[in-house]
Symmetry: C2
Subunit: 452 residues, 2 copies
């Protein structure tokens, strides 16, 4: 598949650069919009704009909905407003709102004025919600019937209004105040008796999602309760939209990717802004500056112990292993804690249990690594006091690292700061400093047995 | 919600421990099976078994399908085979096969002999597939109609056979050799004319999934093409099962979590085997041992430079910042590369582009950090040669780290080794060693200007 794609890409680029536009479009003829979007991502801005101009409006709107924000912006840059209007008209309301979110306000107004009034009202409404909330990911297109309707009425409603609702799984059931009281799956609709009243056969275990709920929480609910589509409601319980599982899948992947990349000191947009080295550096440099300050502080601590170090240069040789191993343990504990907090496997209310577990694991690893390193030091330098000092320091450093790695993300979470964003560099810094202090304090105490 | 849950949990534990079993079950009455499963996870084995015995067979089978493998095993440990049979009979074929996968073979035979022949044949068939393939996650329950059927025939088929098929979204359309030729969404079924022939109105863009496809690839396809359910086929194209999106969501989350935890040197099971410190240590120790060996090697290199270090102890004070900053850059590059390879944002066939980008980013960060550190060193020790040496070393170390962080995961991927599992400790080790060599070689060259 990848081979095929890279061949198509070469042909496509050649056609575009030699202005064989008919052939270029021909190449895309049998491809799924998602595959066309993949090819687009690999083109440069000039090629993207050239190719996009040639697509028919159906394909263009399907493809642009699949593109990264970065590519969308590149294509929209000087797209004629009339064509933008035609595309917005084709898109589902949620995709239209996403697309228009990055377009200047006056252009949005112009575009919305050019399309169907009902559609533009829906898009305008969606644009008002925060992008990372239920309101920001929902679509306005949905089917709802009053609870007094019969199955036959409902089927008629689907036949009349369901033509463009791809992926429709459920009909929502509402009362006279537009509040959701239940839902009917299409399967249930088909197997029920046409004369039945909807209220009597509907599924009442429906979970309306508040419009302001954070998208990460929405994803958790979908995942936990195996939901395929859910109604979105305003604070008075009235139905305003629908979220479907395909929106949710992308959120789940994005949120985890975001956590991982943040812990490593970069940003999910780095995968998107692939070629923009200034943007990427802006994501990465703050993390590096914290590390730099932490490293200098650790170095300053070494400077305070310079007499001891000069007396026993052998002590210097264990600084890397103490720092590296402490760092590794801290990363293990931080990662498991950040993931545990994100998946709910770690419960802040039962924190004692997590700390108790991590302490025992830390103790076990401290013993194993401390013993191994102590023996290695003894064998290397034939100095039992050195072995004992290095081994004990290592064990203490590991124990402290596993506790720091657990408690720092938890503390950030309690303070309302995303533990992923702050733990990585902070944990490493705290750990390097405490590691050096532990090691050199212990060594200084036994210096007369080590030096010489 | 968390507060509520923790209150319920306390009550539940109290009831169980004081043998108020009716009250205990009463507590669960209004809860979703997924919420009951959450509570189960927080009980100890004795409590789990006690409570599980009291659940009616419907609830018991819904709850056990939601439990972690760890809890399933704890409950199954000495569950009477007759009750296990009743539960398996209730479950969907995929959940039944998952449950029986960890049960001894002779018990499986006994259990399957006790249930409906048709069901047992399906479960037996599913048990034969590798758990991490399409065959391992699919279910046997599905609806299919021949392509000659009319819409009316198809609706009749759904009414007759769709009673227990919760979450059914599509009917598969097959030819006389049982090969999938298309699918009909239930929405399309409802809006089509009863007299239409299925073959004429069906969706032919269906993507049959080969039964042996890796689950991660299945998840990618669902995600990319926004699929809600897909047919699974044998090598001759004949229909054998169905995968739905709720199975896929869990796979996506699991696969990413797995990557993250592997990169940090632990294992996704650590979140499951929460209290088993020996198991957890077994996940973590190999990583730590590699780090230990790497740290000792780095220390040995320092030892080789001991004369230089003794002459200029000031050099020691920059070892932490060189190691820490090199490590940070390496982690950033590794993480972005591992995620890029996993999501497809990085294409092995266009590797030059990634390396070019990473080199430029590395260069920029090398300049920024090298300059900052060089100036800091000059200000601290009032020694321009030291500043120049430290700054240049830092810049070189960062450039090497960003290249290593990109190339090592790619090399592992090429060798067919999961880049996530191997890159973390390996990259750190290579980076520490090359960092120290670069720094001390440069410093030694200028030693006479630095020492004293």
């Amino acid at each position: 598949m990848t081979k095929e794609r890279s061949d198509t890409l070469s042909l496509l680029k050649a056609d575009l650069n030699q202005n064989r536009l008919v052939e270029a479009v021909q190449l895309l003829a049998d491809l799924h919009p998602a595959d066309i979007a993949d090819l687009f991502e690999a083109l440069d801005q000039h090629e993207k704009k050239k190719l996009f101009r040639e697509l028919d409006i159906d394909t263009a709107s399907e493809v642009i909905a699949e593109l990264s924000e970065f590519s969308q912006d590149q294509i929209l840059a000087d797209l004629p407003h009339q064509r933008l209007g035609e595309i917005v008209d084709e898109l589902d309301s949620d995709d239209a709102a996403d697309l228009l979110a990055s377009v200047p306000k006056e252009v949005v107004e112009e575009v919305l004025a050019s399309i169907d009034v009902e559609d533009s009202r829906e898009v305008r409404r969606l644009l008002a919600y925060d992008e990372e909330t239920a309101g920001g990911i929902m679509q306005a297109e949905l089917l709802a019937v009053p609870q007094e309707a019969t199955i036959a009425d409902t089927i008629k409603h689907v036949r009349e209004h369901g033509k463009d609702l791809e992926g429709l799984a459920n009909i929502f059931v509402i009362n006279s105040r537009k509040q959701v009281v239940g839902q009917m799956s299409l399967r249930r609709l088909i197997i029920s008796d046409p004369g039945d009243i909807v209220a009597e056969v509907m599924d009442t275990s429906v979970r309306p999602i508040p419009v302001e709920m954070d998208q990460e929480d929405v994803a958790r609910i979908f995942q936990k309760y195996d939901i395929i589509s859910a109604p979105v409601v305003e604070s008075d319980g009235s139905l305003v939209g629908r979220i479907t599982i395909d929106d949710v899948i992308d959120i789940i992947e994005d949120e985890i990717s975001e956590d991982v990349l943040r812990m490593a000191g970069t940003h999910e947009d780095e995968l998107v802004y692939g070629d923009q080295i200034w943007k990427i550096s802006r994501f990465r440099l703050p993390w590096l500056l914290i590390t730099l300050v932490g490293g200098l502080l650790t170095g300053y601590l070494l400077w305070l112990f310079k007499v001891a170090l000069a007396d026993a240069i052998v002590l210097v040789t264990f600084i890397p292993v103490i720092m590296a191993l402490g760092g590794s343990v801290a990363i293990q504990s931080t990662t498991i804690t950040v993931r545990g907090l994100a998946t709910g496997a770690i419960d802040l209310r039962r924190l004692g249990r997590t700390v108790y577990k991590e302490t025992r694991v830390g103790l076990l690893m401290a013993l194993a690594c401390g013993l191994t390193l102590g023996i290695a030091a003894e064998i290397w330098h034939r100095n039992p006091v050195l072995g004992l000092t290095v081994g004990t320091s290592m064990a203490l450093v590991i124990l402290v690292a596993s506790l720091m790695g657990t408690l720092i993300p938890v503390a950030f979470q309690r303070l309302g700061i995303d533990p992923a964003v702050s733990s990585g560099p902070f944990v490493t810094m705290v750990n390097d400093i405490s590691g050096i202090v532990i090691y050199l304090s212990l060594s200084s105490a036994f210096l007369k047995y080590i030096a010489g």
